[in-house]
């Protein structure tokens, strides 16, 4: 137990970083209603860009900005596949994710992983100084939440929310839904890459497989946050915060079950099952209560059109 408690601060720090990634997932999954699988690739992209550019001598802030931009670019590709090629969003994300594997390898100069020691470079956070990592991670989370809170309160932000909720309504009110979807996917992946860049600094290396399963961890964080706080957090900023807390809870639970003796190799299996069950709960609730079924906004009203 003391071992668990002593590893808790590290779990929280890591949870905050994954929680920032979960905010990116929140934008696509919750606001746009698009499960975007690009994040598995763009999370690694963020780490790869940061490590290579910092190693090459770039300032860490500039490197973070580049990582963010690289994530945005990845999102732009998925958005283009989806809105210009007409590829279903899930498949578009899978295609980009696959392509990013090659691109990430190129960024890393063909290496599967690359070290980045806090001893040789001035980094923002590192697991060697966990209190500092907690503060830096927390500040990043707060700034990202504040910026998104502002953005989703603007006219463009409203257009994005309307697109995710009811595309027919959005278009009838003059919204180009292709552009709003694109914008949402771009911003989401930018944030995910930023989180990847933070994690690379924290753990002191980046790995080509760093983002594998990121979407599932992101969903887990979003869902845990929702289960815990949906009754008390209604404000948009608080809902984003609940995703970050969801990430923290997720990492604390993972740390606990590992301490309790779970084989680390079985971790992804466990995560996937937990997320599947939580995604199933609202569906089962509807089945039992016979409650309202969500009406597909793309369905046509009136007479048969064909």
């Amino acid at each position: 137990m003391t071992q668990f408690l002593s590893s808790l601060p590290g779990a929280v720090a890591q949870g905050i970083i994954w929680g920032i990634m979960a905010i990116g997932v929140f934008i696509t999954f919750k606001i746009l209603d698009i499960p975007d699988l690009t994040v598995d690739g763009s999370f690694s992209t963020g780490g790869a860009v940061l490590v290579t550019t910092v190693t090459a001598g770039l300032n860490v802030w500039a490197a973070l900005l580049l990582a963010f931009a690289a994530g945005c670019a990845a999102g732009f590709v998925t958005g283009t596949f989806h809105t210009k090629f007409g590829i279903p969003a899930i498949l578009a994300g899978i295609l980009t994710q696959l392509a990013l594997y090659s691109i990430n390898l190129r960024i890393l100069g063909g290496l599967a992983n690359m070290p980045l020691s806090y001893r040789n470079f001035s980094l923002l956070l590192s697991l060697s100084d966990i209190p500092r990592a907690l503060i830096v991670g927390g500040l990043f989370a707060v700034v990202v939440i504040a910026l998104l809170y502002w953005f989703f309160g603007t006219e463009v932000g409203h257009a994005l929310r309307a697109t995710g909720c009811n595309q027919m309504m959005a278009r009838a009110n003059g919204v180009n839904t292709n552009i709003t979807k694109m914008a949402g996917i771009v911003i989401s992946n930018g944030i995910v890459a930023l989180a990847g860049a933070l994690l690379a600094q924290y753990q002191g290396f980046t790995d080509i497989n760093m983002g594998r399963g990121a979407i599932v961890i992101g969903l887990a964080a979003v869902i845990i946050g929702e289960v815990l706080f949906s009754r008390i957090f209604h404000n948009f900023a608080l809902r984003l915060l609940s995703a970050v807390i969801g990430g923290v809870v997720y990492y604390c639970v993972i740390t606990l079950v590992l301490r309790l003796g779970l084989n680390a190799n079985d971790l992804k299996l466990l995560t996937a099952l937990v997320v599947a069950v939580f995604l199933g709960i609202p569906y089962w609730q509807r089945q039992f209560t016979g409650g309202k079924v969500k009406i597909d906004p793309s369905a046509q009203g009136g007479d048969a059109n064909a």
């Binding site: 409203h158 929310r161 909720c165 959005a170 180009n176 839904t177 009203g301």
Partner: protein, 264 residues
């Protein structure tokens, strides 16, 4: 003024399910015309509205709105000219957004969106007033998510949204069909008030022939993708439901194609 010239639309062209939804439709609406549209299932009524609002592209023909050619204009671009209310009360509003946010979306239909606040402070009071004019008591629930409202309330809000910026043309696609009779009557009453107050040019599809006769200054009957009968002014006033049914029977080859028309 709306002008539809020789409009054609074929669904599933080249397959066994090929369906000529509009075949050479011609229709002109003068400013502040209120036209009711009737016809059986598959007559092309909804297709006509969807063509005007740009949901699908047309195969041939032209649509002009105040001399602007909107035939090939993208749906979100022509949205600034049009007010739309759909049959499904869920379709016209965003359920996860509040009443005032929905109205703010509609208010910005005619302009480019930027990074200014989505609902400005001074707008809120204005929206409160227009919502109060519905007489549904919703003005005290301006920050309530629209998804929590009833179908009738949502349809009333949609109507408000469609007319918040005066549209060149109001399109109503059986917008009371999914409501219970009492709510339907209330929404229809609101519709009439809005149209009269702003002198809106309106196309209203309905399956209720009494409503089709009672409302508006013109009536058109569609069959197989074109207009087979129309009446305006006094001629329309004199029409009865029995006349319409007879006409419909003749057009559809002696049989009623649509049970719903009998029920009205």
């Amino acid at each position: 003024m709306l002008e539809i010239r020789d409009l054609y639309k074929v669904f599933n062209a080249g397959t066994v399910n090929e369906k000529m939804a509009l075949s050479g439709l011609n229709l002109t609406l003068e400013d502040s015309d209120f036209v009711t549209v009737i016809g059986g299932n598959g007559a092309g009524k909804s297709t006509m509205l969807n063509m005007i609002s740009g949901v699908f592209p047309s195969d041939a023909g032209k649509i002009l709105l105040d001399d602007i050619d909107i035939t090939n204009m993208r749906e979100h671009r022509r949205a600034k000219y049009l007010g739309r209310v759909f049959q499904d009360p869920m379709m016209g509003t965003a359920a996860t957004m509040s009443i005032e946010e929905n109205l703010a979306m509609a208010f910005r239909r005619t302009r480019r969106r930027g990074l200014a606040w989505g609902v400005k402070h001074d707008e809120k009071q204005r929206y409160r007033e227009v919502v109060a004019s519905l007489g549904l008591g919703l003005e005290d629930r301006m920050t309530t998510k629209v998804g929590l409202l009833s179908g009738g309330q949502r349809q009333a809000i949609t109507l408000l949204m469609a007319t918040l910026q005066k549209p060149k043309l109001l399109l109503l696609d059986e917008h009371t069909a999914a409501l219970d009779p009492k709510t339907a009557a209330k929404v229809l009453e609101l519709t009439e008030t809005f149209i009269q107050k702003e002198k809106l040019t309106t196309l209203m599809i309905t399956h209720n022939m009494k409503d089709a006769l009672r409302l508006g200054n013109r009536i058109i009957m569609m069959h197989n993708g074109r207009i087979i009968f129309e009446a305006a002014g006094e001629e329309k006033e004199k029409l009865t439901v029995a006349d319409l049914l007879k006409m419909f029977e003749k057009a559809s080859g002696g049989e009623f194609a649509n049970d719903r028309m009998l029920l009205t």
